[in-house]
Every structure is written in structure tokens, then in C-alpha cells.
């Protein structure tokens, strides 16, 4: 077992300080302290506090800034996008763990200098994660362990996925009704032409095949146009939402499989609508088609 990363964000610290409208991170003249410890600030926090790389700032757990410590900003980082927290302002800082403990430890509590919120573990054999977590739980009651790679139970994004799928199905049902109405109008338009073709000896079957091929082409072109439209709108939608939430999270991605799925759904529907609409015409007698 190796401890890969020990991560603790300073959300508590920073948000409480920022929320209290006290000076959250105070830029100090360089050289105010002999060798300030290094700190990384999130892009959002650096912008909010008007801090740049090289500045020395004070971090404190108290809104008044009491018992604060000086740190030198050695870098600005983009926080890893987290879909679970995309509405939250990412006002974060990263310190070395000893610096953080030094800053936050309670002198009255000896145990506070040896506390972390979580321990990330990389297994030699990732396939053994179930056995490892079960063993850890049995050996250390009170600790919770879980795999980071497996989807969690009751994943909200699976629920959202089902929600979006349900909306898509409603949209497809509505579009199909409209498509059928348009195909019926179109079939009516061609009533006399169809009658003339039947008089010339072209069979119902050949006419149906012709309609099916026409439907296939129209549906394929429509589906392709739809996929291209979605692809074109992708960056616009992402830009709007990324700007709204100040994140690099990707909200919309038109993948090949999604485009293929739309295509596979749209084409049979288009063909079926074309055949269904034409069938109302083709089942009539030739004389009624030519108005006799």
C-alpha cells in the first residue's frame, strides 16, 4: 500500500474567510518573511484575490487573519472539473500537507497534527479492490473504503442520463407525428402521378420500394444534418455554460456513438413514415387515383 496523494482543499478556510468579507488572501510585499512556504492557488481564487505568481499571501483559519501564515504563490492551477460541484465557486489552494497541518492544527489537541480527511491508495493489482476494501474495513472499523474507478451506487449522472433519454423519446415521438403528417401531404400531392404510373403498369411493390428509397435518402440527409447541427452547436453550448459556471467542464459532447444512435433511430422512422403515408394512396384503385 502506498500513499499516493494526501489531498485537502482549503475550502473551509478560504470560503469562510471570503464569505466573511475579511481579507482572504492578503498580498504582502515580497520579503516580509524569510522563506514563505509555497502554495498553489486555483485560477478562480487568484483572480478573485488579484494575486499573481510570486506574490506572498497570508492564509488563516480565522476570518480576522489572526494566527495566519505567509505563503509564496508558486503557481496558479485550473481545478479538475467536477460535475458534482460545477455550480460551486472553486476558491481553492493547495499546500504541502505539513504546512496545512501547521496552519490548522489545534495546539490543545495533540491528535490534530496527525489527521487527514482521506488517503488515496493505488493497488498493485487493481482487480483486487473489492478484497482490499473488505479487508481494510474488517481490520479498521470506523474507516470507510471504496473504489474510485467503479461507478457509485445511485449515481446521479445515471439518473440524469435516464432523464435525457426519456426527453429524447418524447421528442422522437413528436417528430414522428409531424413527419407522418408531412409525408401524407406529400403523398396526396403525388396522387395523380402515382395513378399515371400505375396506369403505365408499374406495380405497387415497385412504387413502395421507390418511396422507401426516397424516405431512406431524406431521413439519412436529415439525420446527417441534425448530427452536424448538434456538432456545430456543441462548442457554442459548452462556451456558454463554461463561461456561466467558470469551469472547464465539458457539458455537451457529440460522440460518434451518439451520432450513430440518432442515425439508426431516424432512418428507419423516416422510411416507415414514408411507406405508411404512401400506403394510404397505393391501396386505392387506379381509377380513384386518376380521379375517375
Amino acid at each position: 500500500m502506498t500513499i499516493a496523494t494526501l489531498r485537502r482543499t482549503l475550502l473551509v478556510l478560504l470560503i469562510s474567510v471570503l464569505g466573511a468579507a475579511a481579507t482572504p488572501i492578503r498580498a504582502q510585499p515580497p520579503g516580509a518573511q524569510a522563506s514563505p512556504a509555497p502554495v498553489l492557488l486555483s485560477r478562480q481564487l487568484a483572480a478573485r484575490a488579484h494575486v499573481v505568481v510570486g506574490d506572498v499571501v497570508t492564509l488563516a483559519t480565522d476570518p480576522t487573519g489572526a494566527a495566519g501564515r505567509s505563503f509564496r504563490v508558486v503557481g496558479i492551477y485550473e481545478p479538475t472539473p467536477d460535475p458534482m460541484r460545477f455550480t460551486a465557486q472553486r476558491l481553492e489552494a493547495r499546500l504541502h500537507l505539513p504546512d496545512l497541518i501547521d496552519l490548522t492544527a489545534d495546539p490543545r489537541d495533540a491528535g490534530s497534527t496527525d489527521k487527514v480527511d482521506s488517503i488515496n491508495v493505488r493497488l498493485v493489482n487493481p482487480m483486487e479492490s473489492d478484497r482490499f476494501t473488505a479487508e481494510l474495513r474488517a481490520r479498521m472499523p470506523g474507516l470507510d473504503a471504496g473504489s474510485t474507478s467503479r461507478p457509485r451506487e445511485n449515481d446521479p449522472f445515471q439518473v440524469l442520463d435516464r432523464f435525457h433519454l426519456a426527453i429524447s423519446l418524447v421528442t422522437v415521438a413528436g417528430s414522428t407525428a409531424f413527419l407522418l403528417a408531412l409525408m401524407i401531404i406529400r403523398a396526396e400531392e403525388r396522387r395523380e402521378t402515382v395513378g399515371a404510373m400505375r396506369l403505365l403498369g408499374i406495380s405497387r411493390r415497385s412504387l413502395l420500394v421507390e418511396v422507401a428509397i426516397e424516405g431512406l435518402l431524406v431521413a439519412a440527409v436529415g439525420a446527417l444534418f441534425g448530427a452536424l447541427l448538434a456538432y456545430g452547436a456543441e462548442s457554442l453550448v459548452n462556451r456558454i455554460f463554461q463561461s456561466r459556471y467558470d469551469t472547464t467542464l465539458v457539458f455537451v459532447r457529440v460522440t460518434r456513438s451518439i451520432a450513430l444512435r440518432s442515425f439508426l433511430l431516424a432512418v428507419p422512422l423516416g422510411v416507415a413514415a414514408g411507406i405508411a403515408a404512401s400506403w394510404t394512396l397505393l391501396r386505392r384503385t387506379i381509377l380513384s387515383l386518376v380521379g375517375r
Binding site: V12, P141, G142, N154, R162, G174, L180, A181
Partner: protein, 403 residues
Amino acid sequence: MTSAWLAFRTVQRYRARTALAAIGVAIIGALLFDMLLLSRGLVASFADLLDRSGYDIRVVNSEGVSVSRTPIPHASTVSAAIERLPEVASVARIRLEPATVAGGDGSDLDVTVIGSTRAGGRIAWTVVEGSDLPDGSASTEPCPVLVGRNLANALHLQPGATLQLRADVPGQQSALPPIPCRIAGIANSLFASANEFEVLTTMRGLREVRGGTDNDDADLVLVASAAAIDPAVTVRAIAALRPDLRVYSNDDVVDQFNRNGFAYFRQISVVLSSITVVFTFLLVATILTVSTNQRLGEIAALRALGIGRRRIAAMLLWESVLIVGLGGLAALPLGGLVAAGLDRILKQMPGVPSALHFFVFEPRALGLHALLLSATALVAALYPMWLTARLPIASTLRREVVG
């Protein structure tokens, strides 16, 4: 013959296409209606839940963020001080602790034990079987509990039975022994979600479960304002009394929820409402235009009979109104059904209280639905109206007849 009657006759003549177009509008209109219900539904439902809880103010520790807030220390002193304020009618302290109970198959089941200084009925727990917990500190019983309906169903629990509760102590390498607690009743909690198990007990019961330790902390202090006192006034009084705590009225909580937690659904509602309106416009406009093109000879004949441009244009507008109106009306019950299905899907999200709804009917949504569809009907008819208004009668008739 009025233009409305002419439109009605046309619609009657082309029944199949009209019916299909109206069905299309009904389905897309149902989606539009649902998105309008969604646009404020969760916030309205959340506000309703908070109001039904019987308390209009929530006091929490100012330290920490919402997900990992530090409990309020010396909570009994804090709540006593708050209760003495003239603006306050009553106060309840709430403490949450994770615990486990033995499941039916012998495995441990995670539950949340809620310790309260008030009876279940006073903190939005509705007893459905058995009896409520005693109010305040009137009970001498060590650990009476109200069991949430989900847990009772999962373990087939009945009032009078014993529930073995074992508190989890985060960060500790020891497990406390299970404590036998008498089930006083089965209850529905207003804020319970479908996939969580909850147990309500007295503060003394919680202390027993925690192995007799009592640090007098509370995660939350609920406050009910005195009659005729504005909650904002009570908030100010409590904030002045204890500036180290954060005090929120129900309106503040809903406002924060509206700005943060609900943003996604509000935006998806705006996006999908816009798309459905554009979609309806495009499709109705296309159907009307194609249909008008097909009937150019008929329209030219009507014009030749002396029916004016305005009446023909009005006829097309009426056709649009009939298609969109019929579809829009059918969209309401259909939208209700679809909303119920979508609501069921979204309520599968973890932590969402069963009593919370994403789609909530409001008269405002109905008005907006009617307004948007009316505007769509009008705009969709504009191009066909313009087409017929500039139709040359003689050449159209000659072309149609010769053709």
C-alpha cells in the same frame, strides 16, 4: 362564410394531416409544458417542504462549508438563549449521527440516527403506526425510536419491537456495541429520500447509542417565529444574539438553493423550452406552407369568388390556431402524464426527499404555455399568409387548371 368557418371546413377535409399535426403539437407541447413546470418546480416544492416543517428559521455553525459544517457546541445553552427571545415561539435541536443496524441477511445496514429535542410530529415526522416520541425531555425511557417507513419495510419492523443500533464513530478504530432501542412507532419523514434509512430518537436516546457520551453539540437548531413576527425580524434578533452563528430564514435557504443546487434544472428547462417552441414553429410553419402550396388553385378560386385577401389570410391563421390549439389542449393531460414519469426518474437521485417534486403545477406555467403556443401559431402562419396575399388569381387558376 367567416374565415374561421372556412378554416374549420379545411381542417375537416384534411382530417388525417390535421390530426397528425395536432398529435405532433400535443407531444412537443407536452414537453414544453413539462419544461415550464420544471423551471420553478423544484424550488416551489422545496419551499413548500420547508414551510411544512413547522419551523421558519435554521441556525447552523458559521464554521465550515455546507457539506462539512462543524456542529454548534453547547447547543442546549444556545437554544435556551434563542428560546428566550420574544420573537421566538419554539426551538428544536437536531443532531445527526451515522449508525448501522443488522440487516435481514445479517449484513450491516447504514442508517442515519436523528436526535431531536422535539417529538416527531413537531419536526415533520408523521407517525403512521404506533406512537410518537415524547416532546422535550419528558421521557425516562433510555432509547425510544421512530423508524422511517423505508427501514421498517426493509426489515419488517413493527412498533414494540427492538432495534439494535450501533453508532459509527468516524475516524475511530473501535466499534461501539449495539444498543437495544424500543420502536415506539413507524413514521414518514418529510425530508426522507427513497434510498435512505432514518431513525428518529430523543437526545437521550442518541446519547445512549453513542455509548453514553454527550458533547452537547447540535448540527442544526430549528426556530419557529412567534405568531405575526416576520421571520426576517427573528433572523436579525438571533444574529444579534449570536453573531458567531449563521442564521437563515426559509426564504434565504430557498434563495441559496435556487442560485446553486437548482441551476442545472432551471437551465435545462430554459434550453428545452426554447428548442420545443422553435421546433413547434418550424413544423407547424412547414405543414401550413406545404399544405397551402398544395391548395393554391383552391385559394385562387376562393379569391375569384370574391373572398378577400384578408379573409383568406385569416383563414390560414385560424387553421394554424386550430392545429396548435387542439395540440396545445391535448398537451396538458399528456404533459401531466409525462411529468409524472420524468418526476419518478429524477427522484431516483440519491438524497432527494420522497416528498420533493421536480415538476410542480403553477397557474403561471399554464399561462406561459398558452402564451408561447399562441405566439407560435401566429408566427407559423405568417409565411403562408404572405404567400396567399400576393397570389395572382388569374395565372394561378390557369396554371392549376391547365396543369
